[in-house]
């Protein structure tokens, strides 16, 4: 063994054990990312490009194009996504603007409420809009003659679900304003509107493009919402689900999944490039902008925040209310029947426990893995030339792969009888892995940002002191990056708790997760228990977020002595 490693030039003499270990670990990570990301996607690609006889052909695409109704599904997917983008981005931009650039009371509250949709599965919105505007909806009259089951419901729910994703990006984009620009504009006595158009908008343009791409991709690849509230309105994402889960037509499913993958992948490649430019445009000497009170600006923005918050809470609240009402809309008495019934008979408890297990494991496995890989990428300089680009690419890829596509890739790859990992299929383990891979990129970027912000010579110093880099990782790098690590853990937990898209293809009756069970309960017409389950998930995620906030708060208090910026 030793002999063989020594014969490889990049694991040669003159290296310490920990340097060899570090290269070895990175190779191991590359291997895992290949098996659990690249190969499944590769199989998906092959599955759609080769016919049954194993010959290269576009026959599946031709078949697909010839299927009646497919053209409509493609068109519907695109126009709905465009409408959702056009609505969500301005809404979120104004909200982010109010949070960052106005003097509002309770800024923290508006922010949390604005992000609250992240706490539940995307289906929460769909369930809630059914209750508000559905056949027996409270506000059905608002929609006039049109029905919420269809594009209207899909658009409403998707706007609700994608709002926080856009908001997060825009809050960051608006946080980095350069006060000097505003002072210059003021010195030129530019009008409020001109300042907005000439200073605010251009400086946030990368954020706006990024948010638009994220919302568009979200809408294209979301299938839980159209499934629940879409009625007979055909969209591609549901088509994949129907083909694969309903008809077991994996080949057709692969073709549709590939069609979904393309626009999303393109969007994220564009976004990736834009982000690069944005980083370059931020100068280190920028002076942060601190808004001054101005009621003519603040009052309308406050009203807007209240309005949006009421709407957001109205959606969340309706789901919770539905879970407590005995028999909508005839008996509005509050009770825990749905919870009791659900927990006892509809398998809600099992599903909930499954979800907790999956989310917990995703956090426990994903956080160390993602952080370690980011660390090795950042600090390891040896190893073969292909290694780092490979891992970097694999870490960036999941952002552009909808969960749905990943799920189908997993089915095609792991369900194949000749795959030695076949045993993984439908286990908890595969769902945990799917979650880690699905949410990899955001976490990777968080870790990378934290690692890049610390002194890049820590490893050099410890090498000169003859201390293993892993000792330094444990004693210095990890403690310094702890906030980022906790952030990754929280992100993984909440997403694993709420995700539907990849898991819907991977569960077995024993491993059914809570978020997917909502879909099934809804299909069975059990809206009450479905709402109960959704509420449970929201509460769990809210508690985890609270725990996270408390933890970071106390951590900062304890570590204030060394975290405070130098005197």
């Amino acid at each position: 063994m030793t002999r063989r490693t020594l014969s490889l030039p990049w694991l040669g003499e003159g290296q310490t054990t920990s340097e060899r270990l570090s290269t070895g670990l990175l190779i191991g990570a590359a291997f895992l990312l290949c098996v659990f990301l690249i190969l499944p996607l590769g199989v998906l690609l092959m599955g759609s490009l080769f016919d049954d006889a194993g010959e290269f052909s576009l026959v599946r695409f031709i078949e697909f194009a010839a299927t009646p109704g497919m053209g409509r599904a493609v068109w519907n997917t695109i126009w709905v996504a465009l409408v959702v983008t056009v609505i969500t981005v301005p809404l979120a931009f104004l909200y982010a603007y109010a949070i960052q650039r106005a003097c509002l009371p309770l800024r923290g509250v508006w922010r949390i409420v604005g992000l609250s949709a992240l706490l539940g599965p995307s289906l929460v919105g769909a369930i809630s809009f059914i209750q508000w505007f559905g056949t027996q909806g409270v506000l059905k009259s608002w929609l006039g003659d049109s029905s919420v089951y269809g594009p209207i419901g899909i658009i409403l729910s998707t706007v609700y679900a994608s709002f926080p994703h856009a908001l997060m990006i825009l809050v960051v984009a608006l946080a980095t304003a350069d006060a000097r620009l505003f002072e210059a504009a003021e010195a030129l006595s530019a009008s409020r509107w001109r300042k907005f158009v000439t200073v605010t908008l251009p400086s946030a343009r990368y954020g706006l493009i990024s948010a638009a791409l994220v919302v568009f991709s979200y809408s294209v690849s979301e299938f839980g919402i159209p499934k629940v509230i879409g009625g007979n309105f055909p969209v591609l994402a549901v088509e994949v689900y129907v083909q694969v889960v309903g008809m077991h037509n994996f080949g057709r499913g692969a073709v549709v999944a590939l069609l979904l993958l393309l626009p999303v992948l393109v969007a994220f490649i564009v976004d990736w490039r834009i982000q690069r430019k944005q980083q370059a445009s931020l100068t280190a000497r920028a002076v942060p902008y601190v808004p001054r009170p101005d009621w003519r600006r603040d009052l309308p923005l406050l009203a807007y925040c209240v309005l949006v918050s009421v709407a957001m809470l109205g959606v969340l609240g309706m789901a919770a209310y539905t879970s407590l009402v005995k028999f909508w809309p005839y008996n509005l008495e509050l009770s825990l029947t749905h919870y009791r019934y659900g927990l006892a008979e509809a398998g809600v408890l099992d599903a909930y426990l499954n979800s907790l297990k999956i989310a917990g494991l995703t956090t426990l496995v994903g956080t160390p893995f993602i952080f370690l890989v980011a660390y090795l990428l950042e600090k390891n300089r040896s190893g073969p030339a292909w290694l780092r680009p490979l891992v970097q690419g694999a870490a960036a890829l999941p952002m552009g792969v909808p969960g749905l596509v990943l799920g189908i890739g997993y089915i095609l790859f792991f369900n194949h009888p000749s795959n030695p990992l076949n045993g993984l299929y439908q286990t908890l383990a595969i769902m945990v892995i799917a979650n880690v891979v699905h949410y990899y990129t955001s976490c990777h970027l968080t870790a990378l940002t934290a690692l890049k912000s610390i002194d890049r010579e820590f490893e050099s110093v410890s090498a000169s002191l003859k201390v293993s880099q892993f000792v330094t990782l444990w004693r210095v790098t990890l403690p310094v990056c702890l906030p980022a690590v906790l952030e990754i853990a929280r992100y993984l937990f909440i997403n694993a708790m709420t995700t539907v898209s990849a898991l819907v293809f991977l569960y077995s009756p024993e491993t059914l997760p809570a978020s997917v069970s909502i879909l099934n309960l809804d299909e069975a017409g059990e809206l009450g228990p479905a709402a109960a389950m959704a509420t449970l998930i929201v509460i769990t995620c809210a508690l985890v977020s609270l725990a996270y906030s408390l933890l970071t708060h106390f951590l900062f208090r304890r570590q204030q002595a060394w975290r405070s910026p130098s005197r």
């Binding site: 110093v461 410890s462 090498a463 000169s464 002191l465 002595a561 060394w562």
Partner: protein, 359 residues
């Protein structure tokens, strides 16, 4: 073989040549300074010695052993970076003790031994009693000393310093450079320091290595480098100077315009020579002084800089080129020098140094 020897070291970053054919020998106990403008490859050379950057070609020997292919952890040196790279979450004591437990020689010392060594090191760098502070609670100069204490705690055979003083203010910088030099002499540790500040280099070094674009321009003691620059670049980079050019007349004389000056060194008659005159080597005489190499000039500009004045002189005899002279305030003793005045100045023959022809 010298204590540290570098042979034909080359390093490229893509198409960019960061180091080219660098040869250097460092003696035991020596304080060597790498000096050069930004981007000339000083840091790259230092990092190559540390093994943090791998050379494309060439060899490095340390204490007679070849270390060219060894990873940083298998070489014997302590290093201080420009950023200090102190571990923010460890106290000063934790930082200084960081490398102590891992070394075989130190394993036996135990807890008490480590503590004693930390106290000793902090006393050495003049910061006793700050063991329990965190780096963020220290001033830049204090952080710098802690970084030095950490690098020296393991008694490395070689000390590498990358612009250790550049993040400090001017006063702290001058104080610390004396302290570092004093410490180095006391410990006798072979030291290589990088800087782009020529004054710092002149003040601290036993020998200076002047670099430009990845190549070594000159190696020598501060006096040699200052007095006898090997080429235009070194002459220009170290201190101020006047470059004047003229044909030799006979073995010892050179003509500048109408002026004939004697030179202490032999010249080849008839050929054009270039000379390098330091501003402080231009002397100011009484108006009627007639000694050799003296001439009249008028003052074009006078800059008073406290301890000395910089005077831009013009002379019709010496073509159109202005001469910059430096007169110490002490030497002027209150004699007023105002723009427009005519003065008698001179360049003593031994200060008229011919420069080697550019290669």
């Amino acid at each position: 073989m010298a204590h540290l020897e570098i042979r034909n070291l080359s390093k490229h970053f893509g198409a960019f040549v960061a180091l080219e054919q660098v040869n250097l020998a460092v003696e035991r106990g020596e304080f060597l300074v790498l000096l050069g403008p930004s981007g000339c490859g000083k840091t790259t050379l230092l990092r190559a010695i540390a093994g943090l950057e791998r050379q494309d070609a060439g060899q490095i020997f340390h204490g007679g052993e070849e270390i060219s292919a060894r990873s940083p952890a298998l070489r014997d040196y302590g290093i201080v970076f420009q950023s200090y790279a102190l571990f923010p979450n460890l106290t000063v004591a934790g930082n200084v003790a960081y490398g102590l437990k891992s070394r075989k020689a130190d394993r036996g010392v135990g807890r008490e031994g480590v503590r004693r060594r930390v106290v000793e090191m902090l006393a050495l760098v003049g910061l006793p009693g700050i063991e329990h502070k965190y780096p963020a609670q220290l001033s830049g100069g204090q952080q710098q000393r802690v970084a030095l204490a950490r690098a020296l705690a393991t008694s490395p055979d070689l000390l590498l310093l990358d612009e250790p003083l550049s993040a400090l203010d001017a006063i702290e910088r001058v104080r610390l450079r004396a302290e570092i030099r004093h410490l180095q002499t006391r410990l006798g540790v072979t030291t290589i320091m990088v800087t782009h500040d020529q004054e710092e280099a002149l003040a601290m070094a036993d020998r200076i290595v002047v670099m430009k674009s990845g190549r070594i321009q000159q190696v020598g003691g501060p006096q040699d480098i200052y007095r006898a620059p090997a080429n235009d670049f070194v002459a220009d980079f170290i201190g101020r100077g006047n470059l004047i050019e003229g044909p030799a007349v006979g073995e010892r004389h050179v003509r500048f315009g109408k002026l004939m000056l004697r030179c202490a060194e032999p010249l080849s008659p008839g050929r054009a020579h270039r000379f390098y005159v330091r501003p402080e080597d231009i002397c100011l005489y009484d108006t009627l002084d007639q000694r050799e190499n003296s001439f009249y000039a008028y003052v074009q500009k006078h800059e008073f800089l406290g301890a000395y004045s910089l005077v831009t002189l013009r002379t019709h005899d010496l073509a159109e080129q202005p001469l910059v002279a430096q007169f110490s305030s002490n030497y002027l003793a209150g004699r007023p020098i105002a723009a427009g005045a005519t003065v008698r100045v001179g360049i003593p023959p031994e200060h008229l140094r011919p420069l080697p022809e550019p290669a």
